[in-house]
């Protein structure tokens, strides 16, 4: 409860900070909605030509984009530093967070909001409504699936970037990991064979950011629900474990840092 209050206070500060630069915030949000919408045109063109890819149609892609863009945006809005945790570790910028009496990981992750994340988040909803599969219970499932997909995504980012504690560098690997996650999440899962699907469920959990939650939103099933909860809890636990294990190896650069 105490941590939740702390998180809410951080999010309020981030929002106030974003509102200080309203034009930049609005231009990035609107720009991102346009960016996502233009990108989706590829699938409209593709399915206009081929209609169906092993049972997947344009409506399925709308749903996958809805969950993926929504989760990506929510992660950026609430835990913006998840995208550059590796750099923070390598540059010795954890000192500031370690000196304060709060959960280091939670504090560092929530200390920044990515303004364009709001655009991605909104686009997620636009894409869901555009799928033409709106229903009240379906919308409830969409929200729930979005939250679980966000947990998996943020946890995956923390896992990959915690490797910076051991490797001493993280930028390139993080870029590859984020690209892999997004790329695989945004393609029909029916394209992949059993081995590839297993990789997308366990190693690069892109299926939990796209196909699995999208399927759950379309049709409720206990097995999908269990799988999503298991993935969220499992990846979160692994992220916490790896980050704290790495933290023991962390060496301060004793640099003077200013956190704004």
């Amino acid at each position: 409860m105490k941590e939740l209050k702390f998180l809410i206070a951080l999010w309020k500060t981030n929002l106030a900070s974003a509102m200080e630069y309203r034009v930049a915030f609005l231009s990035q949000s609107i720009g991102m909605i346009l960016n996502d919408g233009v990108y989706f045109l590829v699938w409209i063109i593709f399915f206009d030509r081929f209609k169906d890819i092993r049972g997947w149609q344009l409506t399925d892609m709308f749903m996958v984009f809805g969950v993926s863009a929504g989760a990506f945006g929510l992660a950026g809005m609430l835990f913006g530093n998840a995208f550059n945790l590796g750099d923070i570790i390598v540059n010795g910028r954890l000192d500031y967070y370690l000196s304060l009496p709060r959960s280091t990981l939670l504090h560092v992750l929530a200390s920044r909001a990515v303004p364009s994340g709001f655009g991605d988040f909104l686009y997620g909803f636009i894409s869901y409504f555009a799928s033409g599969q709106f229903s009240l219970d379906g919308f409830g499932r969409f929200i729930f699936a979005l939250i679980l997909a966000t947990v998996v995504f943020v946890s995956f980012l923390v896992i990959v970037q915690s490797l910076a504690f051991w490797l001493g560098t993280g930028g390139a690997l993080t870029g590859v990991a984020i690209n892999a996650m997004i790329t695989f999440a945004l393609y029909p899962i029916t394209l992949f064979n059993k081995t590839a699907k297993l990789i997308l469920l366990i190693i690069i959990p892109a299926a939990f950011m796209g196909a699995v939650p999208a399927g759950f939103v379309r049709n409720f099933s206990w097995s999908s629900l269990e799988l999503m909860i298991l993935a969220a809890v499992g990846f979160l636990a692994l992220a916490l474990f790896l980050f704290h294990l790495g933290l023991r190896r962390y060496e301060s650069g004793s640099a003077i840092q200013v956190e704004v």
Partner: protein, 261 residues
């Protein structure tokens, strides 16, 4: 000319100084090519034909490889220039005895050349294994010349977006949308041959097709007539965008205010 060559060499060596970092970044092309292969392999399999819109699966994979090499290897100058404009560090570049735009061109080429080379080798190895050998070697020069033209068009767009920081608070949205136009109207993810005829006509009347579709298409379907058409289109768009760039730069210089040191 020698000074720009020296800047190019410094950035080339700088890029080569971190081989592990560069190799990791090249890993991205493996992800993209794997996904593209799955998508098109299934599409060709389901349609039960070897040739779709004049392209075989092998053609399409080498087309996509060149398109991805251009996209992932092109200079990311928009962000760099916009930061230089916003934080005022552009002032330190303007008082040096070189032309600012040619300086950026030399930097961009120095960074791009090894990156594109490595992307092509890494991605090409995978494509060769998955889809078959590359197009015949004697056809490569027909794609190499438009490749340079495509790179220069990307450079002009990047600089224009970067210099937009003189008038706009945030240029990132311009960069995202420009990239997506290249994806869609450049035929980066799906070759333009698969588009409805009217959309092909729209795409081919804009510069984006000359930045992706042109060189990638010539790589897999070498044709002298197409080569002339692509190169002349590139020259035309380079004249337009280059002119705009020079204009934007001189306007930007008039707006530049430097306070203190």
């Amino acid at each position: 000319m020698n000074k720009y060559l020296a800047i190019f060499k410094i950035n080339l060596l700088n890029s080569l100084a971190y081989p592990a970092e560069m190799a990791t970044r090249s890993g991205m092309i493996l992800i993209f090519m794997t996904v593209f292969f799955q998508l098109w392999h299934v599409t060709y399999g389901d349609s039960g034909t070897q040739v779709l819109n004049g392209l075989t699966l092998q053609n399409i994979m080498w087309y996509l490889l060149l398109a991805e090499t251009i996209e992932l290897g092109r200079p990311r100058l928009a962000r760099v220039i916009s930061e230089q404009v916003k934080d005022g560090s552009i002032a330190y570049l303007l008082n040096k005895p070189y032309n600012f735009l040619l300086y950026q061109l030399s930097i961009g080429m120095g960074e791009s050349l090894p990156r594109m080379g490595l992307l092509f080798i890494v991605g090409g190895t995978l494509v060769w294994i998955m889809a078959g050998p590359p197009p015949q070697l004697q056809n490569w020069p027909l794609a190499a010349i438009p490749l340079v033209g495509a790179w220069l068009l990307h450079f002009c767009f990047n600089c224009l977006i970067g210099l937009a920081a003189f008038v706009a608070e945030e240029v990132a949205p311009f960069e995202w949308i420009y990239q997506k136009f290249v994806f869609i109207l450049g035929g980066m993810l799906v070759p333009l041959d698969f588009y409805p005829v009217w959309l092909q006509a729209v795409a081919k009347s804009l510069p984006f097709a000359y930045m992706m579709y042109g060189p990638a298409s010539l790589f897999v379907r070498p044709d002298l007539q197409l080569f002339v058409q692509i190169v002349s289109g590139q020259i035309l768009w380079l004249a337009v965008l280059g002119g705009l760039l020079v204009l934007a730069f001189s306007r930007g210089m008039r707006r530049l205010a430097i306070n203190g040191g």
